[in-house]
Amino acid sequence: MKVDLLVVEDLWKFYGKEVILKNVNFNVEKGETKVIIGPSGAGKSTLLRCINLLVRPDRGRIVLDGDVITERRDVHNIRSQIGFVFQHFNLFNHLTAIDNVLLGLIKVKRLSREDAMRKAKEALLSVGIAEDLWRKYPAQLSGGQQQRVAIARAIAMDPKIILFDEPTSALDPELIWEVLNVMEKLSRNGMTMIVVTHELGFAIKVAHEVMFMDGGTIIEKGLPEQILLNPRSERVRRFMERMWYLYSMDRKFWRSENAK
């Protein structure tokens, strides 16, 4: 049976007169991995921040697991149920890797030190951060390692859903793989995820559904193969063409008609 874990209805966000999000609607099923793609400035990042209430939407409803979170006052309780992985990792610079994971477990979930420790270790191991790195500070870790610690920080909290905001955009190409690999594993294990990314390979392989955003709204959504290889709208088609070129993919996916 399919259960909607997250429902976003008629979401709007303005900065002054500028419309950042307009009429965004979608559902995320439990265990689903949803990938959002689109040009920069499309509102993808703002959308994720709205879901986590880091940014307050101006209109619309967000329902998480039957709970209308846009109407809740205790925002921090909601946030502790939603993981967030940032483009620039945003690990706490003054804490070691393991303390970064422990902080939320102890201060927010109020676990005992031993329980928190057990969970933190488990989370770190699950993202492939071995014990020799646990006592290192963020600045002593590579970008890929930092991002995996950030993912561990999110999953240790047992969130209902994890939001990824371009998690590999700030990484050197050779480090991207280790992060995507962890994310793929998470998805296969049934974690509900929304991923904003330009990694088309990841989208094709892992996503259950891909949404294309531009101008603050969802232009097209569907199966990965359809959106990435055979989009209906002209706007999406043009974008995808450039993306595939950038990633040096075989142009055989494209019909010759777009040569004109």
Partner: protein, 225 residues
């Protein structure tokens, strides 16, 4: 000259000790009071409401814009006129603490704004409340960033506490002046005083460097551009 210096140290050693003790009491008390109050002012000036920010901003500008001497004279000589009589040591501590609180608040405020907003955002994302995010994520980093400035402030206060001399607090400078007038060995006395002040300030500075190096967090203290 050397004989005279030895004469002073031999005959007035215990008096100098009393002076040093008062200097230390004044410095340490006013420094830590200033640190606590300064921290509070800094946090309120960054996160407080409009009114609090405005009032504190004016207060800070007034204290920063006037000499510590004026503040000291105000506390010791003017407050009794409105019925608040303080002994010299207490008056010095209060005046220096107020002054220091304002300067320390400025150092801490500057380092709070040097912590990127993304740190705050990611603290919220794991479910910390705003106040907890400030307490556990922003302030610990800000205080470490501010440490060099805060250490300088301590060294500065140690020697600046000598202005308590003007309100007859029996600290090092006052005792030194007294010994000078007793022995007429003014120059020798100044040399002894300078030696004590300079030695203490160098020791304090070096000690702070050792502590800083010991508790350094890689990547955090990138103060140089």
């Amino acid at each position: 000259m050397l004989n005279n210096i030895l004469y002073i140290l031999f005959n007035y050693g215990s008096a100098l000790e009393v002076g040093l003790r008062h200097t230390i009491i004044i410095t340490v008390t006013s420094y830590f009071t200033g640190l606590v109050v300064g921290l509070l002012i800094a946090v309120l000036r960054v996160y407080g409401g409009r009114w609090i920010r405005g009032v504190l901003g004016i207060l800070v500008e007034i204290i920063r814009g006037t000499p510590m001497m004026v503040q000291l004279f105000f506390v010791y000589y003017a407050l009794p006129e409105i019925g608040l009589l303080l002994n010299p040591v207490a008056a010095s501590i209060i005046a220096i603490a107020i002054n220091s609180a304002v300067y320390q608040s400025e150092y801490i405020r500057a380092s709070i704004s040097a912590i990127p907003y993304s740190q705050f955002e990611s603290a919220l994302s794991i479910g910390l409340t705003k106040s907890r995010a400030v307490l556990t994520i922003i302030l610990p980093q800000a205080i470490r960033v501010a440490t060099p400035a805060l250490v300088n402030e301590a060294v500065y206060l140690f020697k600046y506490s000598s202005i308590a001399y003007f309100v007859t607090a029996p600290e090092l400078m006052y005792i030194g002046k007294f010994i000078g007038s007793r022995t007429f060995l003014y120059v020798e006395m100044y040399i002894v005083l300078a030696a004590i002040y300079v030695a203490t300030s160098i020791v304090l500075t070096e000690l702070a460097k050792v502590i800083e190096r010991r508790y350094v967090i890689p990547g955090l203290l990138k103060s140089k551009a």
